[in-house]
């Protein structure tokens, strides 16, 4: 890459790194509203569920909300010895890893494609958002129907395209890797717009001069992508990755309706298991303990991603 372009790049990032403002109370007031909302809405539930996770609380037995120090860690030890818990944890990690990474690559490609489109970009951006406009529960119901082995669209389409025989009926929601694949497909379909829009907005806001300088140097499209776009997009990448990884709520509805963690726990995720334990089985203490374990894991994960994010802001 030419010196002109890379100097430009370095100049921007250096000026960012050396910035310091000493004011104390201005940022404080900027942060205040956010903290107020979040502390009220998540602070109490977090503390409450932490407390409950140390008790054998069951929803329809109000007398079970008793705290006894020797038994405080019972729920946690039970979970750590529960093979279903570990299976669901493994499934969740697998599910998240595959979904987020696959989404990232698809979103990256799609965002670059859309950034290059010359006409009708506005309409395309709106069309891109379409999968996000459906409630996750509807997406769950609909995709469960699509993947129905006997009457569903997918099998029927495959048969009419001649890809499978008339008699073959693939059990998308039952067979071992297919169940996971099906929920991943549904989740990615619904959430692809999120990452794509973030990366697209990031791409569209990249400084033009750097590209122009690179053009002057005769850089190819691939080189421009690899050495300018990708590094500059890194902060957006980590933002998008973190958001999606923590975005537990959206996947829960889809999975609960499509497979409800089954069959035989094949697609059991932490959230379906915890939700069932806490409400349907009324074992709220146990469910809370499980939620806290996921919180701790998410914390670790977020800190890791955050470090990556900070690193990406400093250029080597």
């Amino acid at each position: 890459m030419s010196t002109q372009a890379s100097t430009q790049l370095k100049a921007n990032q250096e000026s960012n790194r050396n910035w310091q403002i000493g004011s104390r109370w201005f940022p404080f007031f900027l942060l205040l509203p956010s903290f107020v909302f979040i502390i009220i809405v998540t602070g109490f539930p977090l503390l409450y569920s932490l407390y409950v996770s140390f008790t054998p609380y069951e929803l329809l037995k109000p007398n079970s909300l008793t705290f006894e120090l020797p038994k405080a860690l019972n729920n946690y030890s039970r979970l750590l010895n529960d093979s279903v818990f570990w299976k669901s944890l493994g499934n969740t990690v697998l599910f998240l890893t595959v979904t987020v990474n696959l989404e990232y690559f698809l979103a990256l490609g799609l965002s670059q494609l859309l950034a290059q489109v010359t006409r009708g970009q506005a309409i395309m951006r709106t069309m891109l958002m379409i999968p996000m406009m459906f409630a996750p529960i509807l997406v769950g119901f609909q995709f469960r129907w699509f993947f129905n082995s006997n009457l569903g669209l997918v099998n029927n389409a495959l048969v009419s395209l001649g890809l499978i025989g008339e008699q073959t009926r693939i059990a998308w929601l039952v067979d071992e890797p297919l169940g996971m694949i099906s929920i991943i497909i549904a989740t990615i379909w619904m959430n692809l717009p999120v990452m794509t829009i973030i990366l697209l907005a990031g791409t569209l806001s990249l400084p033009q001069e750097t590209y122009e300088a690179a053009d002057v140097d005769g850089a190819s499209a691939w080189q421009k992508f690899r050495f300018i776009t990708l590094p500059l997009l890194a902060p957006f990448t980590y933002i998008a990755l973190t958001i999606r990884s923590l975005d537990v709520a959206r996947a829960f509805d889809i999975v609960r309706i499509m497979t409800d963690g089954g069959p035989a726990r094949r697609t059991e995720l932490i959230w379906t298991y915890a939700g069932r334990l806490a409400i349907e089985d009324t074992k709220f203490g146990l469910g809370s303990a499980m939620s806290w374990i996921t919180v701790i894991i998410s914390v670790a994960f977020t800190i890791y991603l955050f470090r990556q994010l900070v690193k990406s802001r400093i250029v080597e």
Partner: protein
């Protein structure tokens, strides 16, 4: 956008790129098309096997049923209530969460202060709480406060839910804006607030638009929390409304899809209006020279 001098070579490339983009987007929209078509189908075609793509007859029955226009049907769906409640809650929570998130994102991106990292992480971690751990204690708290079945209570929760995302985004977008611009504003005599308002905020419009779209859609489609906090039609939004189409054994596909089509309309309008801002050009030429 990448500058393109219009030459035949470029034009051919443009056609290929545009065409390919359309192809991909249409493929992506196929399941959505199915959902929309289902809302207009006759009953006989809904469960037809093999499935029928192009409806042989278009009917507005499902919509009529939903609006109570069918005298034979006993059930009446409170569509107006859902529409009003959803709009109220989504718009309120979007405006306030994006505002709060923008302020906080600005603080993180531009200022160094003690516990900078800790505060950032704390706000992010609020998003790690799974819905199931959140909904019941929240229900407890809000019942004591009398905020259940209350649009303000629901909006309050959604604001808190959407803020971390807004902060993440706006922080990222603000960092893309070179500090020199803000510094130039300070030199010109602007205070912190007016520098923010006059320089940084307008340049971060794409970020605002993005955050607004996501916040709106997240609130619009949210189910877990509202199903716990809103029990009567006066405060229910659309997603729990979708469940009225599931009876004990059957699912009224047509009804559900019809309601989803209805749900899409305000969402599309909002997105169209907002996403124009996704491409406001950043005038980097402002400080050159």
């Amino acid at each position: 956008m990448i500058a393109s001098r219009v030459s035949p070579h470029r034009r051919r490339n443009a056609i290929i790129i545009n065409g390919f983009a359309w192809l991909v987007l249409i493929a992506l929209a196929l399941p959505a098309v199915w959902i929309i078509l289902t809302a207009f189908r006759s009953n006989a075609e809904i469960n037809a096997s093999p499935p029928v793509w192009i409806p042989r007859e278009i009917t507005l029955e499902a919509f009529g049923n939903m609006f109570g226009l069918n005298p034979n049907l006993q059930q009446r769906v409170a569509v107006e209530a859902y529409m009003f409640n959803s709009l109220f809650v989504a718009l309120t929570s979007t405006v306030i969460s994006v505002a709060a998130g923008t302020l906080a994102g600005y603080a993180f991106s531009r200022f160094h202060f003690r516990f900078h990292t800790a505060a950032f992480l704390a706000l992010m971690l609020s998003r790690t709480v799974p819905g199931v751990a959140l909904s019941l204690p929240l229900f407890l708290l809000f019942t004591r406060l009398g905020l259940t079945n209350n649009l303000f209570g629901l909006s309050f929760v959604y604001i808190a839910v959407n803020i971390p995302f807004a902060i993440w985004l706006m922080d990222g977008f603000f960092r893309q804006i070179p500090r020199d611009l803000t510094e130039a504003a300070y030199i010109d005599g602007c205070g912190y607030w007016s520098a923010f308002r006059r320089v940084d905020l307008p340049l971060a419009l794409p970020g605002l638009a993005t955050a607004a779209i996501f916040a709106f859609l997240a609130s619009w489609n949210e189910f877990q929390i509202v199903s716990v906090l809103a029990r009567n039609n006066a405060s229910k939004t659309f997603p729990p409304g979708l469940f009225t189409f599931t009876e004990q054994f059957t699912i009224d596909w047509r009804g559900m899809c019809a309601m989803s089509v209805l749900m899409m309309i305000p969402a599309i309008i909002f997105v169209i209006l907002t996403q124009r801002n996704l491409v406001r050009g950043l005038t980097f030429g402002a400080i050159k020279g």
